[in-house]
């Protein structure tokens, strides 16, 4: 059997706390909205991703501390929801719907155009200039406006291969 390294043996990485000052205030403003702190976990994870671009294990541990849940619990939640990144991604994150209704309307071609134009080349890869990471995602709920994509928080409908260069040019 091949063995992965034992846990607890990793080097200690320094983690700059996220939940201080303004971010902390924003999180605490959510507490009255729920009977438990744990219920703030999904909103808080969005705050982590907003602040750092992705969610590291030390960030999960910090958040667990703040909300009173274990790091393992936070990690179980983070890895369940596909919109949370557990590793760094490009400056701009592109999500392309390829589920069948969009698949019927040319999503594959749009996806290939995006992989080409962005420089990512393949799914999940970051372009060499660090600008883009592109992934395919499941139904974005805009099937009548094929092909929909998300670039960061911008939901863009009706993307055809012809429109791709123009759309991507706006993202530095």
């Amino acid at each position: 059997m091949s063995h992965a390294p034992a846990h607890g043996n990793g080097a200690v990485t320094s983690h700059e706390p996220i939940f201080t000052g303004e971010v902390k205030a924003r999180l605490e403003a959510l507490f009255p909205n729920y009977p438990t702190k744990q219920a703030c976990l999904l909103p808080a994870l969005w705050m982590v991703q907003e602040a750092r671009g992705w969610i590291s294990e030390p960030a999960m541990a910090e958040l667990g501390e703040v909300l009173g849940v274990t790091p393992a619990f936070v990690k179980g939640v983070v890895t369940f929801y596909t919109m949370y990144h557990t590793h760094p991604v490009g400056r701009h994150f592109i999500q392309v719907c390829t589920t069948s209704p969009c698949g019927l309307c040319g999503a594959e071609e749009t996806l290939q155009a995006i992989l080409r134009e962005s420089g990512c080349g393949e799914l999940g890869a970051t372009s060499p200039d660090g600008r883009f990471t592109a992934v395919e995602v499941e139904c974005l709920g805009a099937c009548g406006f094929a092909t929909p994509i998300l670039v960061d928080d911008d939901f863009i409908e009706g993307v055809t291969p012809e429109r791709v260069p123009g759309i991507l040019a706006a993202y530095k």
Binding site: A6, H7, E57, T70, A72, K75
Partner: protein
């Protein structure tokens, strides 16, 4: 008081309290509903779907582990529909499961093997596809996780979350990518974490200590009691060729439910020591000479008669009640300081189970010792040694300082013990004793529960239990002597000396023991 409900399971009628789940009602009817994620000591998530049973008038199969009985329900566990559903689950579980049986520790006691053999398909339909692969993970300190074998029953996660109260395991990812995860800097070092290995129905969570040590079918399994502390968890001592290879918890709903702590679990090695006293040794001048039991017992009788004056009895808290009780009677009526040594440690409760903890007193029979006339702690006993005429060491583990004090004293020393030690060279008589794994006996736990442990392995050389030695001497000479020949007889004999045990027999104690009435469970001096 809830009303009782009568249901029929595979044609067997059974009556159970309202609120009982079908799976437990079936158990009472003698029908095992195959299952993985369900466990009587864990909350039920009903995720494995193995326990789906047919209930007449119900449109769908129902999960027996979370469906309550209803009056007049007719349940079919062995119907074609239920069997097909189970076969489907087994097939799904096997598609990503590696053919590891030849190298998997669980083989022979694996619930996947068992049910597949019983009800699974003969051949795979997944032959040409790749199985999911993840490398083995060391969860530390004693637990290895083999993700490829995991069936995601989540018993381990629920145990850590709800019973241990330390949510250090999780389910990570989603769909067929899911696996059991642990946070990066965390270890599975909770004092009760070893139970996840027992809970795992397959060979996914493994004990590093037991890794590749023995095949399940080579093991003899004996019902016993953990000798680690005063909790008195029911355990199974697993041996192979007379060597103890592991302790595992044995179900006892009154004491430890299905669990034992890691300290107790790892505390079996001393039972395999090779440096044992193997023959009785009597002093002949400057030398100790090996001899037979008859001569040794005669010498013991002589020593007891000869040494008038006070006696100090230094005993191990791991001795059975029978041994402690009958040995104490050897010096009844004399000025005796009888004591057991009680090593201490930190208590480690199991949060989710009431009255279950690794106890501070790390001996199994403190209560039994107190009931048979011993005190805890050697200080007063050692203070009495200088003026004592006779010191009997009953397998006590002495420190070098204590050994020196004993050697310096003028008392005659009779040393009955399991392990051979240099300090025995000063004794008049050295007698080989059995360990608790080598005899039948009882321990009394901290709640006054008397529980039997069975002999798990053969004793080395001529070793005998201390109760036998005492019983032989107490019976005296003559043709009508009445010395106990078995642990059960020794236990029955206790009653004449100690009111707490009057009228009790091993048979009364069953597999889960018996709590002594509180009035009698007070220590008698």
């Amino acid at each position: 008081m809830s009303a009782d409900v009568t249901v029929t399971v595979d044609g067997m009628p059974v009556t159970v309290p309202a609120g009982t789940m079908i799976i437990e009602a079936a158990k009472q009817a003698g029908v095992l509903v195959p299952h993985y994620c369900y466990h009587p000591s864990l909350p039920s998530p009903a995720v494995c779907r193995m326990c789906l049973v047919e209930v007449e008038k119900s449109p769908k199969l129902v999960p027996a582990c979370v469906t309550q009985v209803a009056e007049g329900q007719v349940v079919h566990v062995s119907s074609a529909t239920a069997k097909n559903a189970r076969q489907g689950v087994l097939e799904f579980l096997l598609i990503n499961h590696p053919l590891d049986c030849p190298i998997c520790d669980q083989a022979g006691e694996c619930e996947l093997q068992d049910y597949v053999f019983q009800e699974g398909r003969v051949a795979t339909r997944y032959g040409e596809y790749a199985k999911r692969f993840n490398p083995v993970e060391d969860f530390g300190p004693d637990v290895l996780y083999v993700p490829n074998r995991c069936i995601l029953c989540t018993r381990c996660v629920r145990f850590m979350d709800d019973v241990a109260g330390a949510a250090v395991l999780n389910v990570s990812e989603r769909g067929d990518r899911a696996y059991i995860g642990i946070a990066e800097e965390q270890l599975l070092d909770h004092p009760w974490a070893g139970n996840v290995v027992d809970l795992c129905p397959v060979g996914s969570l493994l004990s590093k200590d037991f890794l590749h040590k023995a095949r399940a079918w080579d093991l003899d399994k004996t019902a016993s009691i953990c000798p680690g502390c005063t909790q008195g968890c029911s355990i199974s001592i697993d041996t192979r060729d007379d060597v103890v290879v592991r302790f595992r918890p044995r179900p006892n709903l009154e004491v430890n439910r299905h669990f034992m702590c890691d300290t107790g679990r790892q505390g079996y090695r001393w039972l395999n020591r090779g440096d044992r006293v193997e023959a009785p040794l009597v002093r002949e001048g400057a030398r100790l000479v090996a001899t037979d039991w008859d001569r040794a017992l005669d010498r013991l009788g002589v020593l007891l008669e000869k040494t008038t004056g006070s006696v100090v009895l230094l005993a191990s808290g791991r001795l059975s009640t029978e041994s402690l009780g009958l040995a104490r009677q050897l010096v009844a009526g004399r000025d005796v300081a009888a004591a057991i040594h009680v090593p201490m440690g930190d208590a480690q409760p199991l949060a989710g189970i009431p009255n279950l903890a690794l106890r501070r007193e790390r001996v199994p029979n403190l209560k039994g010792a107190e009931l048979t006339g011993y005190v805890a702690g050697f200080e007063r006993a050692f203070a009495a040694i200088p003026r004592a005429a006779l010191v009997i060491v009953l397998d006590a583990d002495l420190t070098p300082e204590e050994e020196a004090r004993l050697a310096a004293a003028g008392a005659e020393v009779v040393w009955m013990g399991t392990v051979a030690t240099d300090a025995q060279h000063h004794a008049q008589l050295v007698l080989p004793l059995t360990t608790m794994a080598e005899e039948n006996g009882t321990y009394v736990n901290r709640d006054g529960r008397v529980q039997v442990f069975q002999q798990a392995k053969g004793a080395p050389g001529m070793a005998r239990p201390a109760w036998w030695v005492a019983g032989e001497v107490l019976a005296g000479p003559g043709p009508d002597r009445d010395a106990p020949g078995t642990g059960a007889e020794a236990f029955a004999a206790l009653g004449q000396y100690y009111p707490a045990f009057a009228g009790l027999s091993h048979a009364d104690l069953g597999f889960t023991g018996l709590v002594l009435p509180p009035r009698l469970a007070e220590a008698t001096r």
